[in-house]
Amino acid sequence: MTRTHTTAPGTGAARPGALSRLFARGRRTVPARPAPGTALAEAVDLHVRLGQREVLAGIDLSARAGEVLALVGPNGAGKSTLLAALAADLPAASGEVRIDGRPVGDWSAPDLALRRSVLPQAAALSFPFPVGDVVRMGRAPWAGTPFAEADEEAVAAAMAVVEVGEFAARPFSALSGGERARVALARVLAQRAPLLLLDEPTAALDLRHQELVLRICRERARAGDAVVVVLHDLGLAAAYADRAAVLHDGRIAADGPPAEVFEDALLSRVYRQPVEVLPHPRTGAPLVVPVRAVEGSYDGLVSQAGT
């Protein structure tokens, strides 16, 4: 269920000419809605090197339609690298990354943009575009397809859902860190790709907006998208993810539903910090709490952690 469009470069003014190969956007194939459970992004025995260091060593993971997959793990475990590899930003040293069933290298940049959207860790902007324009940039991949008709609606909906509608006319540079993060998320949502890769979307956000962002992830998964989200807050991961992959030293230490994966021994080892996992008294979702000493008994805790 695919259709092809020949699209003109940029705004739609086709200019065939000698240098046209440099300018042409070529043919794109608009993807069909994925069936629930389809693997939209897969890593197969993925190894990634950054300089001399092997950051990812043999990752096997798939992100499926209709599912929120949380990537958790300590600093430097390779979460963001894995996300970048899934986004086709980093090349595999060996192994393979497949998007929508094909190796990432086989897709052109415009084709990939119809299939996956990526929220970077830090939102940057070289020039002071107004917020509305920034979100509208998320619609660029659809220019020249019938879905361009939905541009304004998608932009308005995305801005409303992350609560940045009232900033529409303000320049991006005048926003606070948390507001910028939400605008960046709105841009990603407006893209409406079936695979969302979000790198720490909650890092700069207050409590309310952290919950909001994860609820949006759930809604997108319910609507049939695949969502991969890098999270530091294990409580959020436990509450909202269908699956969690715990990364440790470039490998996947555990992969499965949070209720099964999040257990004391594994997390204590991976994070090198004693933790307790308790069921929430009302919902039963796992709560991950660092083992904290009662005031005055730190000495005992330190010796306990050392064993």
Binding site: M1, T2, R3, G10, T11, A13, R15, L22, V30, P31, A32, R33, A35, P36, D89, A109, D111, L112, A113, L114, V118, P120, A124, L125, S126, F127, F129, P130, G132, D133, V134, R136, M137, G138, A140, P141, W142, A143, P146, F147, E149, A150, E152, E153, A154, V155, A156, A157, G165, A168, S173, L189, Q191, R192, A193, E219, R220, R222, A223, G224
Partner: protein
């Protein structure tokens, strides 16, 4: 066309061999329909903002075109041999076969062989410089990138000086342009490679690279001057200061292909330049082939800069000043900024040339000197303003 939330379902796509999807209704099977949203619900706020900005851009364009025409008319009539504006118009009408009347023989010659080529050349060079400035700033994602500041004009100048100094003439009229283009292209590529690291350009690195490139180009130009005979030295020195005094129709023709190609191609990249301001990776995530975009734009910048430098020498600050002013007036969107900078650059340079010819009559100021005299204080002001507003460029 009803689009379910987050559901890019081709509405009219027939599904060969798949489950029977109701064609044309847009009822996507499964959970996609769970979150319906009203189709075509345009946000009133954003819609009118866009419309207002569109009108503003149109007004600015009209104002710039009007100013340009007026300046061109005044410039064509002003000088040692004064021609009244009405006579300029009459002569133009006559040449176009729309009535009017020719001037006397001297007037006709002054207007058509001296003034008009000069006005047209100023217009072309200004458009090239303004447009190249806007493109450079977009590619580097940095408001300080300008062909003059980061050494590309100087690099193109080396090629042109070499052509003069060595008496090259293998391409006839086009020799200087071709040499300027080749050395300009080499310089842009070198600056780009030297100043980028891990997909980013720090301002300090960019400016320091510019200093180094300018110094090296200066040394090469010095060498050519050293080995040139006195006639060539005069030609080089005069040309280096930046001037349109030797404008002729053949010179206009020599740069026209480069300038026209660059000016027509540049706006095609406007939308992708907007996306590039998000950073390289996000731009790629939105479907921009960043490598190809960069390559194409560097070629275009080299074309435009070479065209300008080959006929007019090194004229700095136009490419810096013009896009900045337009960004303040109408925001950073490149769909207006790129063609707008070409237009405004033309206005600035036609005005600048008129000033250069008339301020110190009967002497004539070098145009490059004049733009630097006005541009440098603007640069200072820009630095101060940025420091105040965002603590300077890191």
């Amino acid at each position: 066309m009803t689009l379910p939330e987050a559901a890019p379902t081709p509405t009219k796509a027939t599904a060969p061999g798949t489950e029977a999807a109701a064609p044309g209704t847009g009822t996507a099977p499964g959970p996609a329909a769970a979150a319906p949203t009203p189709a075509k619900a345009t946000a009133p706020g954003t819609g009118t903002a866009g419309g207002w900005r569109g009108r503003k851009a149109l007004l600015l364009t009209l104002a710039l075109v009007a100013t340009l025409l007026l300046l061109a008319l005044v410039s064509a009539g002003t000088g040692a041999y004064r021609i009244p504006t009405a006579d300029v118009l009459a002569s133009a009408q006559h040449r176009l076969g729309l009535g009017g009347a020719p001037l006397d023989r001297v007037g006709e010659s002054v207007l058509w062989n001296v003034r008009l080529p000069r006005v047209v050349l100023a217009l072309l060079v200004g458009a090239c410089l303004g447009c190249a400035g806007a493109l450079m700033q977009g590619v580097f994602g940095n408001p300080l990138a300008e062909p003059g500041v980061i050494g590309i004009s100087a690099g193109a100048a080396v090629g042109a000086v070499a052509a003069i100094g060595l008496g090259l003439s293998f391409f006839g009229n086009w020799t200087i342009t071709v040499c300027a283009f080749v050395s300009g292209l080499a310089t842009v590529s070198a600056v780009y490679l030297l100043s980028r690291n891990g997909g980013k350009t720090e301002v300090v690195t960019l400016i320091l690279t510019g200093i180094a490139v300018n110094a090296f180009a200066g040394a090469l130009i010095g060498l050519f001057v050293f080995f040139a005979d006195s006639g060539q030295v005069n030609q080089i020195t005069f040309w280096q200061l930046g001037s349109l005094a030797q404008a002729t129709w053949p010179k206009v023709l020599a740069v026209l292909p480069c300038a026209a190609a660059g000016l027509f191609i540049a706006p095609l990249y406007a939308r992708r330049l907007d996306l590039l301001s998000l950073g390289e990776r996000p731009a790629r995530h939105l479907g921009v082939d960043v490598e190809r975009l960069r390559l194409a734009l560097i070629l275009v910048v080299a074309l435009l800069t070479a065209a300008a430098v080959a006929v007019a020498g090194v004229i700095t600050f136009v490419g810096l000043l013009v896009p900045h002013l337009l960004r303040m007036a109408n925001g950073p969107g490149h769909r207006f900024l790129v063609p707008g900078s070409a237009l405004a650059g033309a206005v600035v340079l036609v005005a600048g040339d008129l000033a250069a010819r008339t301020l110190a009559q009967p002497a004539e100021l070098p145009l490059g000197v004049l733009t630097a005299l006005i541009g440098s204080p603007f640069f200072f002001w820009l630095l101060r303003r940025t420091r105040r507003k965002q603590g300077g460029w890191a």
